[in-house]
Amino acid sequence: MKKKFLATALVLAMALTLFAGCGKSAPAEPAGTSSAGTSSAGNEPAPAAAHADEINIGIAQDLDDSLDPHYAVAAGTKEIMFNVFEGLVKPTPEGNLMPAVASDYTVSEDGLTYDFILRDGIKFHNGDEVEMEDVLYSIERNMGSDGNEALIPALEAIKDMKADGSKLTITLDEPVPELLNYLTLAILPADYDKQDTAPVGTGPYKFVSRVAQDNIVMERFDDYWGEPAKIGKVTFHVVEKIESMLLGLQGGSIDLCMHLTSTQTAQLSDGFNIEEGSMNLVQALYLNNAVAPFDNVLVRQALSYGIDKQGIIDLAFDGFGIPLGTSMFPSFAKYYDDSLTDYYPYDPAKAKELLKEAGFPDGFSMEITVPSNYQPHVDAAQVIVEQLKEIGVTAKINPIEWESWLNDVYGNRQFQSTITGLTSDNMTARKLLERFRSDMPNNFTNYNNADYDELAKAAIVSTNDEEQTALYRQMEKNLTENAANVYIQDMADLVAVRKGLSGLTFYPLYVLDVSTLYWAE
């Protein structure tokens, strides 16, 4: 009997250790890695007043795709490498384009001929002068002239490129109004084959080194053609854990970090200025216009009245964020129509009335699919669920993984409603608006409006800037009037900047321009 008890006790003990292993190891892990990150962040050199010619910037992800600007796809890589490369023209903080590798350019009346003058004496980081041959090589590489698929399909409209001394003439088959935007593509030396590991460009900073998973170092390029960068050496530290990032900021090993949330910045001491930019995206409750009940415009309008955007911003984002009323954000000042923001003021009574008219006097049930790795979207969804209760609509959140979201929601359009943020990575209104044309492959909301299609077709071929802008504005209005989606906000992008550091410039693009930063004396 005694033996038997011993045996059972032994089995029990075994079971216990087994269970204990299963339950406890997992929650301990995140804490463990973050504390490991802490110690490594703490070991880095403390800030000194003498670092006036140096800056340490925290970035959340490594630059692990190609450093070759023509092949890089990750937004985080492009954001940093913006400092190394330039095109014939480059973006300005106002959202315009200014000459860079080209010192001047002219566009013909019919939009078919572009003339560029190569900047005199401009040099690459390796000391070589930029030749016309390099420009041709860089553009041809993106056109697919080397037999591969075109990296920028729009450039296939180029019929001919002719170089004459320092003058480059590009002629097109048909007008491409956004051609200049595409010609922000980086100009690279033609006879250099290590772009993907040791990139060479013409920008204000030159690439020095990269240690995988750890850091990227850049130095000021002294032969830069324009205003030279103010800080001599930049080190980007890869810190994936946000807890470690905050500790690095606090401890002094990091001077600047972008893309923080209000909860995160609240944990920083007063040694930092928090600068507010915007993410330049349209966060909205995107509705599948082909699926009941959202195929009914009255229902969509009811939701627009029943969701309080400012309430979402206040509750889930501590008041940071710019409310939007259409698929356009304020950074694109030229196209942005602010009068649409309050087209549907928060009005639950009106929302209920519209629902009644649409045949849903008692409301309905709906599902909001959210990519679960994007906390801002999950947070917004939670507030929306709460607000919709007021108008009798029962919403349920369905969190799914990012890959499933891309596949099921964005690809196969298998969803009822979803929250996400849509961007324009080449500073064109076209990228934001054309996707709602009924025949576009990326029209995942199935928006189908004949007027809109007409406007979109006219806008794309228009060569008159004024006319085109007017058409884009009409398209925005069309989206709002038909309540294509429930627009929420352009999310705030909070940047922690160590006190004493100035000159941070925001672009209507996902980039960090280091060249304008400086330490105040």
Binding site: A7, A26, A316, N373, P399
Partner: protein
């Protein structure tokens, strides 16, 4: 005979009793709606109005804990039920009959055990979809089967050739009858403590799964989900993590004491 008070059992019953009663109350009534948000009451420290303070949406944490504990308890009980039922079924058959079936099932069992259990649960969840309560139950339930099976197999094997079982067999009792009526009652002494341990591990496993973001879907609350939510704002709202964590600790501690008490009771009888 002198009456013995089993301190473990009594303390455990009291602690877990309080939490279970609160959970049951939470199913019908909470001081605030667990999902009601308030911009004016964001991230407030504990006070009389909000016993456990409020979270970043201004939701009352106490109400959410009451509701969330219910979710966690449901998952834990259902998980243990699945694990114990199938575990007993497999363990009883393999232990009683032995032979080739025993070998195959137990090696299969070994294979499942060799796989890290949380990883296995993650795998099952990724196949069935995240954010659904019953998927969590299913995943954890499957993960919990092997340990019960192993335990029951040992117990059944030890009784297989006991004298009273041999007598029963000689009297013509069928295998099913012997397993159900003659052996099962004798396993209670081993099974009950294992159930309490299993329950505790289910609570912790649910917490870690929600912690990893694959448990219940927001805005529903479970203790684990809330704890993971609280982690991100620990330095601004420490009460969120502390209060939620405390409830998990008390629940696990209480049930753990019951288990310890039962074991003591069991060994006393023998």
């Amino acid at each position: 005979m002198k009456k013995h008070y089993n301190g473990y059992l009594i303390a455990g019953l009291i602690i877990s009793g309080i939490i279970i009663i609160m959970t049951i109350i939470g199913m019908f009534w909470t001081p605030y709606s667990p999902t009601a948000m308030s911009g004016a009451a964001k991230l407030q420290a504990p006070s009389l109005a909000h016993l456990f303070g409020t979270d970043n949406f201004g939701r009352d944490i106490f109400s959410r804990v009451l509701k969330g504990a219910g979710t966690t308890l449901t998952i834990a009980v259902a998980t243990v039920a699945i694990g114990a039922f199938f575990g007993t079924l497999i363990g009883a058959n393999t232990g009683y009959f032995g032979g080739i079936v025993d070998d195959i099932l137990m090696r299969l069992n070994d294979a499942v055990t060799a796989f890290p259990s949380i990883l296995l649960a993650l795998l099952i969840i990724s196949l069935t979809g995240t954010g659904k309560k019953y998927n969590v139950i299913l995943a954890l339930g499957i993960v919990f089967i092997p340990s019960f099976a192993r335990l029951m197999r040992t117990t059944y094997a030890s009784y297989r050739n006991a004298n009273y079982i041999i007598s029963a067999r000689l009297m013509g009792a069928g295998s099913g009858r012997i397993m159900m009526i003659h052996i099962l009652p004798n396993t209670v002494r081993v099974l009950l403590p294992a159930l309490t341990i299993g329950f505790n591990n289910a609570v912790l496993a649910e917490a870690s799964m929600s912690f990893l973001g694959i448990g219940v879907a927001p805005p529903d609350a479970s203790l684990g989900y809330m704890l993971s939510d609280a982690q991100g704002m620990f330095s601004v709202a420490p009460w969120y993590a502390v209060c939620t964590g405390l409830v998990i600790i008390l629940l696990v501690f209480g049930v753990g004491l019951i288990g310890a008490g039962m074991q003591k009771q069991g060994s006393g009888v023998n």
